[in-house]
Subunit: 659 residues, 2 copies
Amino acid sequence: MPDHDHDKDLDMDTNGLSTSASQRPHNVPYIHKIGVPPKQSLFKEFKTTVKGTFSSDDPLRRFKDQPKSRKLVLVLEAIFPILEWGRSYNIKKFRGDLIAGLTIASLCIPQDIGYSKLANVASQYGLYSSFVPPLIYAFMGSSRDMVIGPVAVVSLLLGTLVRNEFDPVTQTDEYLRLIFTATFFAGITQATLGFFRLGFLIDFLSHAAVVGFMGGAAITIALQQLKGFLGINPKHFTKHTDIISVMKAVFKSAHHGWNWQTIVFATSFLAFLLIAKYIGKKKPKLFWVPAIAPLISVILSTFFVYITHANDDGVSIVGKFDKRINPPSLEKIYFSGENLTKGFKIGIVAGIIALTEAVAIGRTFASMKDYQVDGNKEMVALGTMNVVGSMTSCYVATGSFSRSAVNYMAGCQTAVSNIVMSIVVLLTVKFLTPFVKYTPSAILSSIIIAAVIGLIDIDAAILIWKIDKLDFVACMGAFLGVVFKSVETGLLIAIAISFAKILLQVTRPRTAILGKIPQKSVYRNIGQYPEAIKVPGVLIVRIDSAIYFLNSNYTKERILRWLTEEEENLRATYQSDIQFLIVEMAPVTDIDTSGIHALEELHRRLQKRDVQLILANPGQVVLDKLYASGFPDLIGENKIFLTVTDAIHTCSPKLAHEV
Amino acid sequence: MPDHDHDKDLDMDTNGLSTSASQRPHNVPYIHKIGVPPKQSLFKEFKTTVKGTFSSDDPLRRFKDQPKSRKLVLVLEAIFPILEWGRSYNIKKFRGDLIAGLTIASLCIPQDIGYSKLANVASQYGLYSSFVPPLIYAFMGSSRDMVIGPVAVVSLLLGTLVRNEFDPVTQTDEYLRLIFTATFFAGITQATLGFFRLGFLIDFLSHAAVVGFMGGAAITIALQQLKGFLGINPKHFTKHTDIISVMKAVFKSAHHGWNWQTIVFATSFLAFLLIAKYIGKKKPKLFWVPAIAPLISVILSTFFVYITHANDDGVSIVGKFDKRINPPSLEKIYFSGENLTKGFKIGIVAGIIALTEAVAIGRTFASMKDYQVDGNKEMVALGTMNVVGSMTSCYVATGSFSRSAVNYMAGCQTAVSNIVMSIVVLLTVKFLTPFVKYTPSAILSSIIIAAVIGLIDIDAAILIWKIDKLDFVACMGAFLGVVFKSVETGLLIAIAISFAKILLQVTRPRTAILGKIPQKSVYRNIGQYPEAIKVPGVLIVRIDSAIYFLNSNYTKERILRWLTEEEENLRATYQSDIQFLIVEMAPVTDIDTSGIHALEELHRRLQKRDVQLILANPGQVVLDKLYASGFPDLIGENKIFLTVTDAIHTCSPKLAHEV
């Protein structure tokens, strides 16, 4: 593949910058002009930017060049994906969905009752939230594997935030109304983000922060279960969720006596659940063992209490249960006053956390089965289901990771498994609740502990430590914030550290000195490639970042320092001075006015030192802006090159051939 | 320069990734291994990061390998640069400094009196601030050209913020005390930022935002002068600074009658000042004309009022004047209570704005004379002078652009010109104040208007528009915020837009499809170089950004969309499918755990489509993190290359030679 001494190819247009073919000496290889693309119109530029910001795909591509009636069908299909996949639905798929639906129903019923306690609401509300929302999601959602319902972290978050406003015991009615209000606004938040294609906002929670937050929430949730697990009277327990308050309350309550029957009960069932979980992990074929273990625990323990009347010995039970099915709750939502504001704020936080979980689940399973989930459409579906949920006595529902995994393993085919599950939940509320009354609270605590243990992802934390120390700081910050202070604090810390990290990295870009890789015409970081050779009389610096106001001065000063150091070294060894400073611009993805000022300043400084500034390989955007500012005229038109090699050849042909 | 078919150079260590020499077919050129540098220890890595964050230079380099006594001298010289440059001071330099010092004194005296009005304090405080702070700066500062004193924007900012707390007319004492408290904390803020080498924080105000903010402040200041200019009674004027309130107040006050003598006075002197300014601009040699014009105006108008007793006809005059020289004000500073908090907050804002101005001036003149200004040391000097100033009846002083320019033009040599100026100011306060009493306020308004007009930099705004539309939005946001609402609002808007811009650009990185430049072995964006040729069967994508949690999903989806579009095109034209996806990683300056997850996800998706993922030219940091996460094992060890050319040669040698 020859890359030199070609004089043809002169039919290109001549708005280039490099020395033209006729000027250059014969021994210099072919030098390609730097590409200056035609300027886009302002409107077009704006349109491209906006489009790129709001979606990685092109949502309207499908609608192009279609007749009107077809467009209507496409719109309906876009809102209700069930219309699309429903057409190819068959009995074979239904078999898979039925088995999966029954399995996840058996898992979700005891979990739902337990999670209601985390949200400080009566048990039926958890079940309600596993009836209406999954039904709506089945029609509107695009994930085939996600199971909808209340989840531990969101229940805890909602419970904590709403309890800051009202006491769930003495102000039950206001508390419940605020829960519905928050649920309504959580739904509105989700649908709005999706509708305006602002889904990218949830990316603001980094993976590291989510790992830490989830781990911390799991520990907080487990700590809350000590109450039920040890049979401590709730009156003697703390309302704080941090580990110190909870442990204090636990030891203090030891004076009032723990209930030994409860502890035996809870411990043995927890052991059973954990063993079941272990079996499921070791033998993927036995996935149904951990899936139905909770239901078996509930049935066994309820039966046991029912016949032994252990509740008279102080074993706490779930107690009376509302048999109505999802009573309307629209009139309970606060649509005015300061409670509206409170519900709005809590709703935004809960809605975004719920979204983060659902989107992560949707993406994970979609990638395992290789289908597409449209994040923005998904948010509209989740939002709608929560808005409707808030009017039918549900609290915030979202995708549950543990149930979705069971659903996947059980061989679900479509969202019909959600429909099956919700029907089973409906029948449970209608006909089985008299029995649920006798379910001991301790069993629910065991079920929750067994469920949330999976949220503590130590492997992920270790990997984060290995990859990026600052990410690990964000992860631990979120974790410790949740465990030692509160869920909100942990969230705030996670977001703050994630942002600070990005700003820090933008503020302090890396720069590198490049040398020539032996036997290749490429130039690389001499730190990374110690065998790379510096070109005498030339200093090649690469700027590893866009140049913004945040880093423009630093970058300029850093380059000047490289030059000073290099010159000192050269003088110490009696070598010739630097005559050219070549800046490799490939990683400079963007530049702003401050950045251009810094380059101008750099040029002036270099002039004073008799060093020529040369730019290599600026990208399209950077080049456009350099031209707009007149920078090429300032440093001289023929000082911008396609590659470092070209620059070296042109600037100091003699030196280049010595290497 | 041959870059192919060399089989020597096998003595390198073998921790590389590329196919080794013995494996590759004979017609493939020499492929250099990708550089995997030895892992740094955690402590060393941390040290490097911290060092890089806090300084572009190495502040302790000078102290290395020096005896103790010499170190002490160096430390003293570092704190008081005057010890260093003072040794080579001579009579010739003093001549320059004396002339410059007298010139700037004549400019600063009327300006100081005017700016005191912006800060709502009595006239002498402006003069005080031109006495103590410049003296201290002369000993500690490292700029040779900067003139210290009160400036328009900081005076306005301080006046506005403090007036929100106390009324300057009815609560004069509390108002003044809060001014000193704010000045004290402004100094503390500046010194702290410098001492902890946090100077980079002022870079958070982008050039565009500063241009807009200054322009807006200039208009706001000019509007405030309408009061003095039209001879409106302050009682009938508004306290708001936005353009709408001020214009309303001006027209309303027309009923009470404007003072025609004042208007004639003010207009003619404004015309005189503007003409002087124009002359100075056209003929740089006549720089002294605009410099002494304000003093001449003051002398003429004061003399005129003195003999005509125009003050009896309603021409407002400066009035009585305190003759004491910088009375101590330490006991006036609030060191406790809520006024401490207020002063602290205002001080931080005023201190940072003052810093921004001073650092910009310091840099500008240092670059014109090619000497170094150490930003952090400079901040310690400015901070110290304001702390001492707050204890000697001064308010926040900083570098003044207009006076520094005059100083430079007048041939100043060192900071001694500041000393000369401060002595002249001292003598003025001591002996000339009886005359200042008769100076008409209108003249001061004219002087201020003439001075601040220079802050409106329309050329800069036009350039910003040309270079970067979003920068222009930040600029206009700051401008309109200041003009239509308040100085604080403008500042907030400027900072918010600057940040949003960076986050937006981090969130939505650019990606580009690369093609081969004819006759060269380099691959460039086909959008920028339309002549670049795509390699059949291969899609080369360049990611133009670090991959962070903010953009990892977007980047992944965008690459998959490029692939889908490309495959659709190929199928439409019956060409062979894509077999390799090469990701050019040169601009990927960093990656975090979310980014690595996205790459893993991309690899899985590509596997499903029978496309192989290949990485080219990852940087050192990225490579370290990829290895830490085990990513190279996942995609296959020999899938990472030094250049796209190497990747193409190895992956599809047949295809590469067809091009």
